[in-house]
């Protein structure tokens, strides 16, 4: 390989202890993220979609080491970060940030916006003097479309969309290169979502940001992403360039997810592929292909037995299905 992607994971796995026995020893594990190998190129957005509980947030956090991975490796600019100590990790924290879904819960209600934005700058010793700090936080406010004269207010004085702008300002305060955006617009009103989507896109263009953009709204992911990875029960089941993936999904789950997304455009033809059954529990994933109990093309003796690897099906496109593309 001649060039390194900005971010890369190799066989990244994260399990949580779900239950302990009477002696406090782990008895059961939730395999939240299993064997995930993805990469994100510099300046690119990798969209991550899948239904709740499939492991999107866990993957985002394991990449940032907000959760310690159970196994597997994460590389940032070609350097493995999974083995770094907390102290060695610290300079990298400036480079890798996160935006949360719930803008309200992620802002300390007792801190003014000014102190919320100053905090990372102080911790990382970016701005020393008072005037330097003032300049920085004022510029941040303007950058995310808020008025600097609102800096001394508290989070509850802002609307949901404005709070999310503050969350974004905090994430870009240290001039990071990589941001995990974990469902940043899911909690916002419909008329506010497009405002925040545009802001994220502008920031990417102006600051050269790289995003891992997590969402369950497929159309927003399609709009923002260069490439997309689809997760099901802890694994990536399909990955590829956004346009191709949306136009002709290779994995039956991707196809079902797309046909389930209701579109308000009357000109869009409605193809309906309704899956049967519920999402299985990650505590007890089905044998073989985890999707087989709900899959419309599953074959007995194959899908219920062998777990399909994520393999390249056509150039630049991968899918984890024994019959990828054959439907």
């Amino acid at each position: 390989m001649s060039h390194e992607p900005l971010l890369k994971t190799e066989h990244l796995t994260k399990s949580f202890v779900a239950r302990r026995d009477v002696l406090g020893r782990p008895k059961r594990y939730v395999h939240a993220v299993r064997d995930i190998s993805i990469h994100v190129e510099e300046g690119e957005t990798l969209g991550l979609v899948g239904e709740s509980g499939c492991g999107k947030s866990t993957l985002g956090r394991a990449i940032l080491r907000l959760h310690e991975p159970s196994s597997g490796r994460v590389f940032f600019r070609g350097k493995e970060i999974t083995t770094l100590s907390k102290r060695e990790l610290r300079p990298l924290r400036r480079e890798m940030q996160i935006i949360f879904q719930d803008p309200h819960g992620s802002l300390n209600p007792r801190m003014t916006i000014r102190s919320i934005l100053e905090e990372p700058l102080k911790v990382h010793g970016i701005a020393e003097s008072k005037s330097e700090l003032d300049d920085r936080v004022e510029a941040l406010m303007k950058r995310v479309g808020l008025r600097p004269d609102q800096l001394d207010r508290y989070p509850h004085e802002f609307s949901g969309g404005q709070k999310q702008r503050i969350g974004i300002a905090r994430a870009i305060a240290l001039s990071p290169s990589f941001i995990v955006a974990d469902e940043p617009i899911s909690a916002l009103d419909v008329s506010i979502q497009a405002q925040i989507v545009n802001l994220l896109r502008d920031l990417q263009d102006d600051l050269g940001l790289t995003y891992l953009f997590i969402a369950h709204d497929l159309s927003i992911v399609e709009y923002l992403s260069h490439r997309v990875a689809v997760m099901y029960l802890g694994r990536v089941v399909e990955e590829g360039p956004a346009r191709e993936l949306y136009e002709a999904p290779l994995h039956p789950y991707t196809k079902a997810l797309m046909s389930a997304a209701p579109s308000p455009d009357p000109r869009r033809e409605k193809k309906r592929l309704i899956l049967h059954g519920d999402l299985p529990s990650p505590l007890d994933p089905p044998s073989g292909c985890a999707f087989h109990p709900r899959c419309p093309i599953a074959r007995k003796g194959i899908c219920d037995r062998d777990e399909p690897p994520l393999r390249t099906v056509v150039p630049k496109r991968k899918a984890a299905c024994h019959f990828a593309g054959e439907f």
């Binding site: 239904e51 709009y223 997810l257 209701p262 009357p266 409605k270 519920d278 999402l279």
Partner: protein, 328 residues
Amino acid sequence: MSDALLKVSDLRLSFSIEGTRTPALRGVSFEVGRGKVLGIVGESGSGKSVSSLAVMRLLHGTTAKVESGSALYEGRDLFKLSEREMRSIRGGELGMIFQEPMSSLNPVFRVGDQIVEAIRAHRKLVRKEALEEAIRLLERVGIPDPRERARAFPHELSGGMRQRVMIAIALAAGPRLLIADEPTTALDMTIQAQILDLLRELKGELGMSIILITHDLGVVADIADEVAVMYAGKIVEHAPIRELLERPRHPYTRGLLASLPSFRDNLTKPRLPTIPGVVPDLRSLPTGCAFAPRCAYAQDVCRDVDPEESRSGGARFRCHFPQESELQ
């Protein structure tokens, strides 16, 4: 549309908030045809839930006060019925399901028993017959192994299954109108598709009317015959679905549709069209049209005079400058 099953006219309702009466519904009018689905869309706080709860007269215990308006169901004004008459209609001819079924199910009773109770509240069946009927209903709403599942407690079921149980309970009384308030909002996409499909089937099979409340225009497009768009306590546009999606008259409806990434050729645009500003606070509404501060078409008259309802084609809307062009 004289053939409406339910016709709500000029409903005005306020809550007392910190001692002052604050309007929540400011003259809401809509109607639901027989065997039709009316979608009510709007952002949070616009008054969707309060509208349906008011019609069902389920706002006791709050500071809500109906100031004026009527809700004619089969020609009878629901607001004029005695509490007893209303009780027999509610959960009978009028069924309701909510976003979070867990809050409407009793956690300590088996779901089968809860359906049996709903059946026996409306029909004279002995327990055994009612249980058979409950199992048939569970099967009808797509619950696998219904005999087995009837013995489950609510917490033992998934969110999607619980919503199916709620639908079964509503169906137990043979409703003619089902009000579904964000029934799929808490569910995953593939489960949402299942539930919408079930509602569509039930509508066809039972000739039931449905009011489907949602913030998702895609859901409405998927299932509704007519749509009412709410903004700050008013219905700003009421139109047949196709007409609303192709030729939205109200600037708010246009703005909402145009801002969706999946609409028309938005995917190829470097920026999404947006509606500027935020939803207004009902405690300090602007005079004139409540949308004026965010509206690209607003003139002085909009800031002074709240628009009356006007009509064009099959649509009704409240706007001084309705747009007639197709949305591009």
